[in-house]
């Protein structure tokens, strides 16, 4: 009997695949439709003006973009070295019996609900940050980065909470990337007399594009994080370099003001912020997947072109 296509399976399961596709497309379409008023009225100026005044119907989203980008970048600056350290330790350095429990624990960090981080942020982290702000000596406060009254809530608390929440994401991807680096890369380094760190650096260098992908993926997570940030950032639309200043993010303004938006234009302005958040995460996911995927492919090619090795590393 000739090989025959089983259309029942293909069509029944494929239909659900199509439904999944339609949901993603539907999100984009609906967000666009529900923000039409604001897009038509403000155009580009929506993203370049600072004035957010629902009462007079003036909407400029620049402070929210600023708050989202600034907090996410700060979170990355704090979390990236730690996440990389965790990835290296759990995949290359830890003894075999310790690896799985450590991976499990770091993944628990990702499992704790955002609202719980927020609660912890309000009652523990914010008072700690306030103490630090009160304690901060005058010469430190002379920098624009540390100006303003000691409120506790603000950019610093938000960046810290975000960093904690992003670590498990970037470290687990970075770990996968390190795993896909062929063993021969490290063995060659050891054979040339490299120390342990130098061998790891070789592996990190080999997987650099994927590791950048891991960091970007973490960035995507930070951009969209809502509850924990809303609870500690202070929710004040202003553009400031100061870590002590209360600010606002795109996700936080949607969470706080959506149910209060009685005017249609107000609602559309909020949805437009959501639309841009959607577009940003879309681009970032695309970019990071492409980078991670590139390392996996390169690793396979390198592994195929090299003979199997006998020695085990790091002994």
């Amino acid at each position: 009997m000739a090989k025959r296509e089983d259309w029942t399976l293909r069509l029944s399961t494929g239909g659900f695949g199509l439904l999944l596709l339609m949901i993603v497309a539907g999100i984009g379409v609906q967000l666009y439709r529900e923000s039409a008023l604001s897009i038509a009225k403000f155009g580009w100026s929506f993203w370049t003006t600072e004035n957010w005044d629902p009462v007079s119907g003036e909407f400029g989203a620049l402070p929210f973009i600023w708050g989202t980008m600034y907090s996410s970048i700060l979170a990355l600056v704090i979390s990236t070295p730690i996440a990389l350290g965790v990835a290296v330790f759990t995949s290359e350095l830890a003894p075999a019996w310790l690896q799985r429990p450590l991976v499990f624990l770091t993944e628990l960090l990702a499992a704790i609900p955002s609202i719980v981080y927020g609660l912890w942020g309000i009652f523990v982290l914010v008072p700690l940050v306030r103490q630090f702000e009160v304690w901060a000596p005058a010469w430190l406060k002379a920098f624009p980065l540390f100006q303003g009254p000691p409120l506790g809530v603000g950019m610093l608390a938000a960046a810290l909470v975000l960093a904690i929440m992003v670590i498990p994401f970037s470290s687990s991807v970075a770990r996968e990337v390190l795993r896909s680096v062929p063993r021969a890369q490290r063995e060659a380094a050891y054979a040339l007399g490299a120390t342990r760190w130098e061998a790891i650096r070789t592996a990190l260098f080999f997987g650099r594009t994927g590791i950048i992908g891991a960091v970007i993926l973490g960035f995507g997570r930070a951009l969209g994080e809502t509850m924990a940030v809303t609870m500690v950032i202070g929710n004040t639309p202003q553009i400031s370099w100061s870590l002590f200043a209360p600010q606002y993010t795109m996700a936080a303004v949607i969470a706080n003001e959506f149910t209060e938006a009685t005017e249609e234009l107000y609602l559309h302005a909020l949805v437009e912020i959501g639309l841009v958040l959607f577009a940003m995460t879309l681009v970032i996911n695309l970019l990071s997947r492409a980078l991670i995927w590139a390392v996996g492919r390169e690793g396979k090619r390198a592994a195929v072109s090299q003979p199997p090795t006998l020695a085990s590393e790091g002994a």
């Binding site: 089983d6 029942t8 399976l9 293909r10 029944s12 399961t13 659900f16 695949g17 439904l19 999944l20 596709l21 993603v24 539907g26 999100i27 609906q30 967000l31 439709r33 529900e34 070295p81 996440a83 350290g85 965790v86 290296v88 330790f89 350095l93 450590l102 499990f104 770091t106 628990l108 960090l109 499992a111 704790i112 609900p113 955002s114 609202i115 719980v116 609660l119 912890w120 009652f123 523990v124 120390t195 342990r196 760190w197 130098e198 969209g224 809502t226 509850m227 609870m231 949607i254 969470a255 959506f258 149910t259 949805v271 959501g274 958040l277 959607f278 995460t281 879309l282 996911n285 997947r289």
Partner: protein
Amino acid sequence: MWWRNVKSAVFVGLCGLSVLLALVPLAAVLYLVVSEGISSLNLAFFTQMPKPVGETGGGMANAIVGTFILTGLGACWAIPIGVLSGVYVAEYGGSKFASTVRFAADTLNGVPSIVVGIFAYAVFVLPFRQFSALAGSAALGIMMIPIITRTTEELLKLVPPTLREGALALGATRTRAVFTVVVPAALPGILTGILLALARIAGETAPLLFTAFNNRFWSTDIRQPISSLTVQVFTYAISPYEDWHRQAWAGALVLVGLVLTSALLARFATARLERMHRGL
């Protein structure tokens, strides 16, 4: 040489230190949730309704029931779509459409939960001019789909090809081979994936804020606004009342307990599965 060895030791030490730095917040959060939550957790928390402002005591019975209704209903939408599209991606992985579906799943997984909330608002709240449990469950369901799709795909790929070949050799159609042999073989793993997805969305707050909204009263009507643990914890956390803070901690403890139990269950289940596959 000694300098390079010192440098190596320093970097190895820094990697160990970063593991500690990552685990300190985990320990701090867990410790505080347990210590603050335990003292506020009592029978009334599970059986009583919220008390009006100013009165102490009361519980979150309606929110607990609400969370179960929302996640359960969300799972009803998400499981068929997630599992079947996972089967499609696993079976026709090479085709262009399958890669598109896989990419869509990854994209959906990365979409911020608040954006999913806006989508559910536009589709399920605006036309009816009414916040509802239905809209909330739709938002949660959409967030579950990609997790289930990807786990189903991964686990179906782990099923040894000999099983399928055996079924096909006996004259089964591909549909029959997949649904009576391959999927059942992967079923424990798929159920684990669903459990993890459930735990993850039970902790979501943002997509519920303007879909399920909140409800101070007892409600099991899916056409009405409904309370949930997460939204209730949020409302209590940002309130100025001491007694509400206490209850917020108790709610957080219940949430973390739910998540940890399911994560541990899933871990044991996957460990067993892996042993099984190695045995094959």
